[in-house]
């Protein structure tokens, strides 16, 4: 489970470098998210551009990654591909996360 991380202003962008977030990698994903986000800024944007499949275990792992953040930190999402977007819509989890079209949109939001 490869994640890469960069910063734009006060926002940490974490990019998933895998095509799938599924049951086979869900626990790893949650653990890697903890490592990568540890000690970072208040706002994290998870870039899902490369992910073309997610199942309910992967969805649960993203929720878990948000829940394990310290108080006052937020996790937004961006660049959902259609298959991933669908899972957030069907489960109504689209009401829980800030969801942006692109990294640029997500970053613009934090400046406004």
């Amino acid at each position: 489970m490869n994640l890469s991380s960069s910063s734009v202003g006060a926002t940490q962008i974490i990019t998933v470098e895998e095509a799938r977030i599924d049951a086979a990698v869900a626990i790893q994903f949650k653990d890697r998210m903890r490592e990568v986000s540890d000690g970072g800024p208040a706002r994290i944007v998870l870039n899902l551009r490369n992910v073309d499949f997610i199942d309910s275990s992967g969805l649960g792992a993203i929720v878990a990654a948000m829940k394990q953040l310290e108080d006052g930190r937020t996790l937004d999402l961006c660049a959902l591909t259609p298959n991933v977007d669908k899972v957030f819509r069907l489960t109504r989890m689209d009401t829980i996360f800030g969801i942006f079209d692109s990294v640029d949109d997500a970053v613009a939001q934090s400046n406004s």
Binding site: D22, A23, F53, V63, L90, I96
Partner: protein
């Protein structure tokens, strides 16, 4: 074209691990796409099958790796009929889970991390039947055909 229907598209067995499920899902998606299913509807089948098969690995074999799961796909006139068989722990009450939508409150700390599986399955199938006989469980899911144009 010699499209005889019903026709068997895939028949295989694999071990009860999440890696084997992942490989199997690739073969399922390939088989239904080759049968003309459009990409969105192919992903719907892959997603429902991911939920059903991961449930077997997690709940019926409780992550023991030595279970065997048998899978077959039949192409029918208007649908795909996918059967999953195994001799692991049966469904609680020998019934299909209700698949109610998980309740999402507005407290981040209380958000559900699971329980979406059967809700998603029911959202994506035509219907499901479950039977348990002589230690064998069979779950049959049916999906609409949606041809690519």
């Amino acid at each position: 074209m010699c499209d005889s229907i019903p026709r068997s598209l895939l028949s295989l067995s694999f071990q009860s691990t999440s890696d084997a499920v992942r490989k199997t899902l690739g073969r399922i998606a390939q088989a239904v796409a080759d049968a003309g299913q459009n990409p969105t509807a192919t992903n719907n089948i892959e997603l429902a099958m991911a939920e059903a098969l991961n449930n077997v690995v997690e709940h019926s074999f409780r992550d023991r790796e030595n279970g065997q799961i048998l899978l077959s796909i039949m192409l029918l006139e208007d649908s795909f009929r996918i059967s999953i068989r195994h001799d692991g722990t049966p469904m609680p009450g020998l019934r299909l889970p209700a698949g109610k939508p998980a309740t999402i409150g507005n407290e981040i700390a209380n958000l559900p991390e699971g329980g979406f599986g059967w809700f998603l399955i029911r959202s994506l199938i035509i219907d499901a039947t479950y039977s348990h006989r002589e230690n064998w469980n069979e779950l049959v899911l049916r999906f609409s055909r949606h041809p690519a144009r």
